[in-house]
């Protein structure tokens, strides 16, 4: 018996019991669609997190941050801890050749430190205000769209200049999406906690890949029928939500000023003895090559051990920690998805086995007839396996269709930056799984059917 005939017989048999076959397929449909949908969700999450990782400056970025809590064995040295100082910068510049772009940061938390920015009668509160060197642009993956970044001279002379994120512009000068015209605030003077600062530059609008696409789409639509929307795009609220969107929002709500300016304007009278507090919040730098990350970290450690007299009042933050976290989260999600899908597929397989057993026990006579006219044990075995396979593969194909619909409705109902992405790989894998389930589930019924003795089968009513 050739394979095509066997497949045709299988399809006919499934077609003859449409409703029953459909119910049987349900398990496989659920299994396959959940497998594909889960993998799409995980993939989307992975993409979103990777995007955020790049937006934070990539894997090469190393942050040294001040740490108030010393390790247990150094607790008694707390009052001798020097903290991160400018001298650490110079020490690293000369003592750690594997890192570059060593940049000091003094960071003020907009809400905790109650920092107000005002322009005329408008008021805004930045998420962060940084006093730093221009090198921060590369470290934080910032891009100045209008105006310029402050430079070394601005820093040396402690000029009152600042570069702001787009959302602060929106708060102070109006959102172009609402007002319909874009104001570029370069040259305008704003008050940061009452002190005048000239805006010399504004960053581009940072957004996730998804927001970018939506914007582009809206723009194209507006071009198509200009009467409907005259430049005003509907208000989508603040950009970004969820864990990776946070990074983009943070960047859009930041203010950057020169380090010296920060020290003089915001630190001068801060210390208890009325001397300036010279401590940095952190030192950011980049490893020259990701391959030597461990060695570079050791270099930094050695330098800081010396300049801090061995007191560990600082700590490393590498994006690799974050990347590992991302990997862990993703593999956890993936694992739970695979488990759910596997359970559904096993249940589906049991359903197929059940229905095939029922089907052969009502077709004992048919099997007897087929054997009497020359069907071998193998012919019958293959026929039953094929029927089971046909059910499983049809279920698998429908499952793929359902998964596409499922993912699209997930995207439509819960828009966030982690757009699920269906990969061909996942679809092929899920379809393969359904085929395997069909084969395995058909095994026992097929074996039973093929072992029927023709005479007993013919006598059976």
């Amino acid at each position: 018996m050739n394979l095509l005939d066997t497949i045709l017989v299988g399809i006919k048999e499934v077609w003859a019991h449409k409703f029953r076959s459909m119910l049987t397929m349900l398990g496989i449909i659920l299994g396959v669609s959940s497998l594909v949908a889960m993998s799409a969700l995980v993939k989307g999450m992975e993409n979103g997190m990777k995007e955020a990782l790049v937006a934070m400056g990539g894997l090469e970025k190393v942050r040294v941050e001040a740490q108030d809590d010393l390790p247990a064995h150094q607790k008694h040295l707390t009052d001798q801890a020097p903290g991160l100082l400018m001298r650490d910068i110079y020490a690293l510049q000369s003592g750690a050749p594997l890192v570059k772009n060593i940049t000091p940061i003094v960071e003020q938390h907009g809400y905790r430190s109650r920092i107000n920015i005002t322009y005329q009668n408008k008021r805004a509160r930045p998420w962060r205000i940084y006093g730093t060197w221009p090198g921060i642009l590369d470290l934080e993956d910032h891009r100045v769209e209008h105006g310029r970044m402050f430079n070394e001279i601005d820093n040396e002379m402690a000029r009152s200049v600042c570069v702001i994120g787009v959302e602060l512009r929106n708060d102070l000068f109006g959102d172009p999406e609402k007002t319909g015209k874009e104001i570029i605030p370069v040259g305008k003077v704003i008050q940061i906690n009452g002190q005048p600062f000239t805006i010399v530059g504004m960053f581009e609008h940072y957004m996730t890949e998804k927001e970018r696409k939506e914007k582009e789409l809206a723009r194209l639509e507006a071009l198509k029928n200009p009467q409907a929307q005259v430049g005003v795009i509907r208000d989508k609220g603040r950009s970004g939500s969820g864990p990776s969107g946070y990074v983009f929002r943070l960047k859009n709500n930041s203010v950057f000023i020169p380090l010296q300016t920060m020290m003089i304007q915001f630190r001068a009278a801060a210390g208890v003895d009325e001397t300036a507090d010279p401590k940095l919040s952190g030192i950011y730098m980049k490893v020259k090559d990701i391959g030597v990350l461990e060695t570079a970290l050791q270099q930094i450690r050695n330098v800081l051990q010396v300049s801090h007299n061995g007191i560990e009042d600082w700590t490393f933050r590498t994006e690799e920690d974050l990347a590992d976290g991302i990997q862990l989260t993703i593999s956890n999600f993936r694992m739970s998805g695979v488990i759910i899908a596997a359970i559904a597929l096993v249940v589906g397989g049991i359903g197929i086995m059940n229905i095939m057993l029922a089907s052969i026990s009502e077709r004992v006579r048919e099997i007897g007839i087929r054997k009497a006219v020359g069907a071998t044990t193998t012919d019958i075995f293959i026929q039953i396996i094929m029927e089971s396979l046909v059910i499983a593969l049809m279920g698998g194909a429908m499952g793929l269709a359902v998964s596409i619909a499922l993912v699209q409705s997930i995207t439509a109902f819960t828009p966030n930056e982690n757009n699920p992405v269906i990969t061909l790989q996942a679809m092929v894998f899920a379809f393969g799984c359904s085929a395997m389930v069909g084969m395995v589930a058909g095994m026992i019924p097929a074996f039973r059917a093929s072992k029927l003795h023709p005479i007993q089968a013919l006598k059976y009513d």
Partner: protein, 242 residues
């Protein structure tokens, strides 16, 4: 050489610790072209004999050759091949597959021979023509009368051009008139030179066939019953076979 040679065939069943001797030393020859009836009351072992002759079952002991091939120690796979190539069955209850149409039912044996789709259809139509049902090829078995269904079954038995045709009580489920038509078909096939073995419990049907074998208690009765030998058949066939 005889088409079928049976030598001292025994078939025992074990049922609840008791051995049932369904066949107890049967030897017989069937020549090509014979039209033989196997007759005996129910429980005599005639069905068992037919199953062994038809390669549906294997004997407990004894030897059997069919068309020059040893059957008694053949594997189930070899038996299936022999059934598919050399044997056609006609059953009392027609045994057509209700989900297939007439032509597909007739094609069934060819599917397992690996015959290609087109030549399958041709051969099936030829076989249906032989039994005069080629105009019903698209019907379902349930749309046909009992006699027509049995003729479809005969077409199915003929389609792979077998060396021998077995008919197990082919008229048992039909009224007398329809039964006559079916028997007439068999006689016609015999005249065309086919080898037919017909199992029946009805002496009047057995009287139609040139060769007769009577089974009693698992053995071949030495003398065919006198009343059977001289029996005039009540069937009036237009094509008498003797």
């Amino acid at each position: 050489m005889a088409l079928i040679e049976l030598r001292d065939i025994k078939k025992f069943y074990h049922l609840g610790g008791e051995t049932i001797r369904a066949l107890d030393g049967v030897s017989l020859d069937v020549q090509a072209g014979d039209f033989t009836s196997i007759i005996g009351p129910s429980g005599s072992g005639k069905s068992t004999l037919m199953h062994i002759l038809g390669c549906l079952d294997t004997p407990t002991s004894g030897s059997m050759r069919l068309d020059g091939m040893d059957i008694h120690d053949a594997t189930p796979r070899q038996l299936a091949r022999v059934r598919g190539k050399k044997i056609g069955f006609v059953f009392q209850f027609f045994n057509l597959l209700p989900k297939l149409n007439v032509a597909q039912n007739v094609e069934l044996p060819l599917i397992y021979q690996g015959t290609s789709g087109r030549s399958r259809k041709e051969k099936a139509m030829q076989a249906l023509q032989l039994v005069g049902l080629h105009d019903r090829a698209g019907h379902r078995p349930s749309q046909l009368s009992g006699g027509q269904q049995q003729r479809v079954a005969i077409a199915r038995a003929l389609v792979n051009d077998p060396r021998i045709i077995f008919a197990d009580e082919p008229t048992g489920n039909l009224d007398t008139h329809t039964g006559e038509m079916i028997l007439e078909t068999f006689c016609k096939l015999h005249q065309e030179g086919r080898t037919i073995i017909l199992v029946t419990h009805d002496p009047e049907i057995a009287a139609l066939t040139p060769q007769k074998i009577e089974i009693r208690d698992g053995k071949i009765a030495q003398n065919v019953d006198a009343k059977l030998a001289g029996k005039e058949s009540r069937f009036k066939l237009s094509t008498s076979s003797h």
